[in-house]
């Protein structure tokens, strides 16, 4: 079984997309530089030339407009920002232009644009370099918003996003970049709209995406030791939200716990709980719960990382609480749960 790093999977997707379709180009600050967006664009400029793989001015809103215009003219731009935070500068073009284009122009035109946005965390990233803004994008109709967890999905969903005629916001968590997993060499698509049951179970449904999904899987392992069988769903797509798959799981487990690294209020976890409360109220036998970042910002000091970010322990305890069990003791936690700090564990080579 061929395994690749997450970054290599992204790179391979870009490479295959560019080879297959002349219209695809990749642009962003640092795209052709020696660091190559953490390796995800390495070698592409050498292979496809500076007309198709290039740097840009520091002008997020304008360059998003440029990408949109070039898409209208026949290109397939892939834009990348080293931090999702910078995309707030471009929200006018993303939300007022790209998201509304197809509807406004009656489907006569559309904007096939992929925007890769990297989520930062730890090592003093601070409030302006570590936001998880999936809910902000997902709220605007007309955008597809995806957050692949596995290298397999990263490649397949990026290829699907590039092939899609609509604007797709593609969120990559930096801490996933160093994880690895099975990635077939060929050109394939993973769906942009379907959650994945990544671990079947019968007692409680854990819904999560991206880095939080990996934590949910770890939590499921620990819950198993407590004789709780957790079904874990990898959301993969935030917008559209795969309410069917979540509902199907709840019919079996009757308990819902959502994990998301965005802020609690007005976030993704809330939407999932709301949807399920609306349509699956009678299936639920206890109050649905969420484990999220607090409605606050993380300081840069490493002293804050452990306190700010929710992690495996919080997921496990939230689940135990739903079963009216006592929370894990501090010492139990020390034994079973890798302490997440302000950088990913050095030994953590994921995905599990």
């Amino acid at each position: 079984m061929r395994t690749l790093l997450y970054t290599e999977a992204i790179r391979e997707a870009l490479d295959l997309a560019m080879a297959a379709d002349q219209r695809v180009y990749v642009m962003g600050l640092g795209v052709p530089d020696p660091k190559a967006i953490f390796g995800t664009t390495a070698g592409l400029q050498a292979k496809y030339g500076p007309q198709r793989v290039f740097d840009m001015p520091v002008a997020e809103n304008g360059m998003t407009g440029v990408a949109i215009g070039s898409a209208l003219a026949g290109m397939r731009p892939v834009m990348v920002h080293q931090r999702v935070d910078f995309a707030l500068l471009a929200l006018d073009q993303i939300a007022n232009s790209a998201a509304k284009w197809s509807f406004l122009f009656a489907g006569k035109q559309s904007v096939p644009l992929v925007i890769r946005l990297l989520i930062g965390r730890g090592w003093g990233q601070g409030p302006q370099h570590s936001q998880s803004l999936q809910a902000t994008f997902a709220h605007f109709p007309g955008l597809k918003v995806v957050m692949p967890t596995s290298p397999y999905d990263a490649k397949g969903m990026l290829l699907a996003a590039i092939a899609d005629p609509n604007p797709v916001v593609f969120l990559e968590h930096r801490w996933l970049h160093s994880t690895f997993g099975h990635v077939p060499p060929e050109h394939y698509h993973a769906p942009l709209s379907q959650a994945l049951v990544s671990r079947p179970g019968s007692d409680i449904t854990l819904v999560a995406s991206s880095l939080a999904h990996i934590e949910a899987l770890q939590a499921a392992n620990i819950l198993a030791q407590h004789n709780i069988s957790a079904e874990v769903l990898d959301l993969r797509s935030i917008q559209p939200l795969d309410r069917e798959t979540i509902h199907a799981s709840l019919k079996k487990t009757k308990r819902l716990l959502v994990v998301d690294h965005g802020w609690k209020s007005f976030g993704v976890a809330g939407e999932i709980i709301a949807s399920m409360s609306e349509i699956a109220f009678t299936d639920l036998i206890s109050a649905p719960q969420r484990v999220t970042a607090p409605d606050h910002y993380p300081a840069t000091t490493p002293a804050h990382a452990n306190l700010y970010y929710p992690g495996v322990a919080e997921i496990v305890n939230a689940a135990l609480h739903m079963f009216k069990r006592t929370p894990m003791s501090e010492s139990d936690m020390q034994l079973t749960i890798p302490l997440h700090r302000d950088v990913p564990d050095k030994n953590f080579r994921g995905p599990f």
Partner: protein
């Protein structure tokens, strides 16, 4: 001979715009055109002169004030009027109203009311043309107020950096809504500003359709030959209120005297005088032209008013284009 008829064609374009917009103004208070309208009456020479320098397949982008550009570039008249009436036969099926026009057959990709938003998009279309080598030149129209938005600079910078085939047309009508230039910009020269971005830039008389045409023709030729972007600013004046069909010199943001001085310079009357004086046009031909335009316009309005509204079932479609399908201009 060609020259004569071209000049007449440009005059006719101006006249047609004027007559269409006057009809919109005349009927707006019937409350059947239920969307904001921003008229270009007084500013027609710029649309007519500029668009005459472009071909059908070149791209056009504009703003909230775009009927004139749409018509001058060859946009479908019935599609425009039906769109303003919110009908299914409108150029975007009632989705956009007056401020979101498009007619792909003649290269009109989009008009949009978020000030500045079409500047980088137009720049991107020109970038696409460069990458594709499709020989198209893009034109983007905008007002003086738009040059205050950050994306104006961002667009000029990228257009200059990439030497893109684009012509930026600034219609300086002295106001952004009711706010005069001097409360929004220092006594700076936007032409110098564009030039400082490395862009060929010039200032022109917005009432002289022939001068506008020849300045633009040069810019288009340069762009088409890989000579990069141009910025052209034209001095002009909007006769009616910012948004809506009425005159508003009484409300206090500008003086009747200022308005009258500009109205004296009416670009349409000026060209008409010149054509009549030179004999390129005679009174009889003029009234024929007017009659046939009147006919065309009335037909478009009648058709629009008789056209159906979009069906309920179609109004919640097109948020996404089906994945198999992707409509792109190229």
């Amino acid at each position: 001979m060609t020259l004569i008829s071209d000049k007449l064609a440009r005059f006719t374009t101006m006249l047609r715009i004027r007559m269409v917009e006057e009809m919109i103004a005349a009927r707006y208070d019937e409350q059947e055109m239920r969307c904001p309208v921003h008229l270009s009456i007084g500013q027609e020479a710029i649309a007519a002169g500029v668009c005459a320098a472009f071909t059908r397949s070149d791209y056009l982008f504009s703003t909230h004030r775009s009927h004139a550009h749409y018509l001058a570039k060859g946009g479908d008249l019935p599609g425009l009027i039906a769109e303003i009436y919110g009908r299914n036969t409108g150029c975007v099926r009632g989705r956009g109203g007056s401020m979101h026009l498009c007619d792909l057959d003649v290269g009109i990709l989009a008009t949009m009311p978020i000030v500045g938003s079409t500047l980088p998009i137009a720049t991107g279309a020109a970038f696409g043309s460069k990458l594709l080598g499709d020989q198209r030149v893009t034109v983007v129209f905008f007002g003086d107020g738009t040059t205050e938005e950050g994306v104006f600079s961002e667009s000029l910078n990228f257009a200059a950096l990439q030497q893109l085939p684009i012509v930026f047309i600034c219609e300086n009508n002295l106001y952004s809504v009711y706010s005069p230039l001097e409360v929004r910009q220092p006594a700076r020269d936007r032409v110098a500003l564009a030039a400082a971005h490395g862009i060929t830039a010039a200032l022109g008389d917005g009432d002289d359709v022939e001068a506008i045409f020849s300045l633009t023709e040069n810019a288009v030729a340069r762009a088409r030959n890989g000579g990069g972007p141009s910025f052209l600013e034209f001095a002009t004046y909007r006769w009616r209120e910012h948004c809506g069909p009425h005159y508003d010199n009484d409300i206090g943001y500008r003086s009747e005297a200022e308005f009258l001085a500009w109205q004296q310079r009416d670009p349409l009357a000026r060209t008409e005088r010149e054509l009549l004086a030179s004999g390129e046009l005679c009174a009889a031909t003029l009234s024929d032209i007017k009659a046939s335009l009147q006919d065309e316009i009335e037909t478009a309005f009648t058709a629009a008013r008789e056209a159906p509204f979009p069906d309920e079932s179609t109004l919640f479609t097109d948020l996404f284009v089906p994945t198999e399908l992707c409509v792109q201009a190229a």
